[in-house]
């Protein structure tokens, strides 16, 4: 604004240059936008779309597993669905959802006008639709989509058709998008905070994203390396993983899980961040143990790099190796426990109210902890060797991915949607959505613990008769869960179109900058003059 040297008084000058112009009209607004709010919205809609696509594949899987025998899909197709369900949900639905939250919230929460690299931000997003298209197009290539599992283990990946190449390029694009997005987030948080917003005053959500972004920068390139090695093994005569040429398929598993375990926390930490905003707001108390929360998050992030081989106890590693990874893994329970106890202590003697975001946060707290406990069970080598690749593992990671990350995403959307749209969602329908989601979630996945303990292997389209009852219950739950999410879609659309106007601060206990300093709905441009945080 000081670039115009003129005779105007400063106040007038300010007005001329920074008139609150709205967004451009039409489709090109979304293609060319550099506004963090627009980009956040696109991330969230993209994530929602992928959630439906991946969900339809999950329903196809549960449809086939409704009865023993092969009814609807041949085994190849079934494997393609399990693979694509995993890849789409992890990289297309959950990760973009939290990047969407980051885009919307981080600049508003730290009092910055926008992300540090606004154009790069646009590019990070627009890589995603192309990556998703490649993943979905792979179904229509000769041989179909790769049926190798979302972990893309060698040697199957070396044998697959061209659908595998589509998937490899999709992973490259997704990785590039994540890395660029993370660099943007780190730079924004470190360089663009409002005066007085010291690191230890930042909202917990911002802290968790700062740490997550570092995890992404460190872990995603390793995945890119692993799939690049697969690509060169397939087409350019290298033999990293091809045993026929002296390579080793187990090496792939090590490289993949070196990325894969931090990835688990890349998904979980922003979810922790959302919960750390929601629980204090509805307990009308500040977050208990803020500093310990920051240290616990950092400890989880560091530990996540030295526990990867607990995903592969059965490959035949020395017992010393198994013991190291077992102890390191159980150690993660300590900082995670710190977080869970802090959330509970935040609620302790708080003035609680149970609107939808809080319901999802409490649902998260209980079910995520349950998923953490089954994780502890699986971390023990002798138990894991029994349960490896059974439905117990499937149940475990869906408790942390669905009841953890997805519940937290729902909590975040219900929590912030008034600020984003200026309108309140339908509280009654929101609560119905919560209860349906909670009940059907447990119907799908709780029974899978029993199936896994009884020995039902994952990723197989058929099963012995003795598993039939629990599989039927699980499949019925899956369809119920799917329908409940259509209700969620309705709630969001209804909120945008017909919601009651929301006040500036609809939640009593919310105390971060977007609630205290900004009107509702948040204007297109915010904090062009940074606030001073006392």
């Amino acid at each position: 604004m000081s670039s115009i040297a003129g005779t105007h008084d400063p106040a007038h000058d300010h007005h001329d240059d920074h008139g609150h112009h709205g967004p451009a009209a039409g489709l090109m607004r979304w293609v060319t936008t550099t506004n963090h709010k627009d980009i956040g919205t696109m991330y969230l809609w993209f994530s929602g779309t992928m959630f439906l696509v991946g969900g339809i594949m999950a329903l196809a899987i549960r449809l086939e597993l409704f009865e023993p025998g092969l009814q609807f899909f041949d085994p190849d197709r079934f494997n393609q669905f399990t693979t694509m369900h995993g890849l789409i949900m992890v990289f297309g639905a959950i990760m973009p959802a939290f990047v969407g939250f980051a885009n919307w919230q981080i600049p508003m929460m730290i009092g910055a006008p926008d992300m540090a690299f606004a154009r790069l931000n646009n590019w990070s997003f627009w890589l995603l639709p192309f990556a998703a298209s490649l993943l979905i197009l792979s179904f229509f290539t000769p041989g179909g989509a790769p049926g190798v599992g979302w972990t893309m283990y060698s040697p199957l990946t070396v044998q697959m058709g061209m659908g595998m190449d589509f998937t490899i390029f999709a992973v490259h694009l997704l990785g590039m998008s994540s890395i660029l997005g993370s660099i943007n987030i780190i730079t924004t948080i470190l360089n663009m905070r409002a005066p007085g917003m010291t690191l230890m005053r930042m909202p917990m959500f911002v802290w968790t994203w700062l740490i997550t972004a570092y995890l992404l920068v460190a872990a995603m390139p390793v995945l890119a390396g692993a799939v690049t090695m697969t690509l060169t093994d397939r087409h350019f005569g290298t033999t990293f993983f091809n045993a026929a040429g002296g390579g080793d398929p187990v090496l792939y598993q090590h490289i993949f899980w070196f990325f894969g375990h931090p990835e688990v926390y890349i998904i979980a930490l922003p979810a922790f961040g959302v919960i750390s905003q929601v629980i204090p707001a509805f307990s009308r108390k500040p977050l208990f143990g803020y500093a310990s929360m920051v240290y616990a998050t950092s400890a989880i992030a560091i530990l996540s790099f030295i526990v990867w081989a607990h995903h592969m106890y059965t490959v035949g590693m020395p017992v010393t190796g198994q013991l190291f990874f077992m102890y390191a893994t159980t150690l993660i329970a300590v900082p995670t426990g710190v977080k869970v106890f802090n959330w509970v202590s935040t609620m302790w003697k708080g003035s609680l109210s149970f609107e939808t975001p809080m319901l999802f946060a409490i649902g998260f707290l209980i079910l995520f902890t349950l998923g953490g406990f089954t994780g502890l069970v699986l971390s023990l080598v002798p138990v894991d060797i029994q349960l490896h690749d059974t439905y117990y593992v499937v149940a475990h990671f869906h408790y942390v991915m669905v009841a953890g990350a997805l519940f937290s995403a729902f909590a975040g959307i219900y929590f912030w949607i008034p600020k984003w749209t200026g309108r309140m969602y339908n509280e009654k329908l929101g609560q119905i959505h919560f209860w349906l989601t909670l009940i059907f979630f447990n119907m799908i996945f709780f029974v899978q613990h029993f199936l896994g303990m009884a020995g039902m292997p994952r990723r197989i389209p058929d099963y012995p008769l003795m598993f039939e009852t629990w599989n039927k219950i699980s499949s019925i739950g899956a369809f119920g869960f799917g329908l409940a999410q259509l209700l969620f879609l309705y709630i969001v659309l209804d909120c945008i179109r017909n919601g009651e106007p929301a006040p500036q601060k609809p939640w009593d206990g919310a105390d971060s900058l977007e609630w205290t300093h900004l009107p509702t709905p948040a204007p297109y441009h915010t904090f062009e003059t940074q606030p001073v945080v006392k």
């Binding site: 993370s182 660099i183 920068v217 390139p221 090590h254 035949g316 190796g321």
Partner: protein, 177 residues
């Protein structure tokens, strides 16, 4: 320094970390082999087990029952003999015959199973039509051998082993696609 310049500096640093981690993924390859050597595991140039003496155990006889099945595949598939008697350790060859009754080429894959199940561990196939996919021209008749040895360590109470093959159609190769 302006925020813009500082942002650029941080961008370059983080991009270097990302590029370094890409390289680190590749560095894990030699690191993995070094760890394997240090722990004496996964040594590819050493045999898994010492060779053992494979004398024919003529003191007992095991009956091998031959069985054939088709899974949703309208071929004809049968063993040429229904059973053979072998001594453990003795190299034996039996033959199966398969006929493609369709008017198109069809590819099938045979999968073996054993009764009792644990006998599979002692039933060593040296050559088998189940090792590869079999593509049959329309109307083709093919005789396919199985060469095997029954391990002399087979528990004494097992006097008969059922060897059963099931042919599955391989989609997209030959016939239906």
């Amino acid at each position: 320094m302006s925020t813009r310049a500082e942002n650029k500096k941080l961008f370059v640093r983080l991009a270097v970390i990302a590029a370094g981690m890409f390289g680190f993924g590749y560095a894990l390859v030699p690191f993995y082999y070094e760890i394997c050597r240090a722990w004496q595991v996964n040594l590819l140039d050493k045999p898994d087990a010492a060779p053992v003496n494979t004398q024919v155990d003529t003191s007992r006889t095991v009956t091998i029952e031959l069985d054939s099945n088709l899974h949703k595949l309208d071929w004809k598939f049968r063993p040429l003999v229904n059973h053979v008697s072998v001594h453990p350790g003795e190299l034996t060859t039996v033959e199966y015959e398969v006929v493609n009754t369709r008017k198109t080429a069809v590819t099938g894959q045979a999968v073996a199973s054993y009764g009792p199940q644990f006998a599979g561990e002692y039933f060593k196939k040296l050559q088998c039509f189940c090792f590869t996919q079999q593509t049959l021209a329309p109307g083709e008749v093919r005789r396919m051998p199985v060469t095997f040895v029954v391990d002399p360590r087979l528990p004494k109470d097992v006097t008969s082993i059922a060897l059963s093959y099931t042919f599955f159609e391989v989609d997209g190769r030959g016939g239906r696609s």
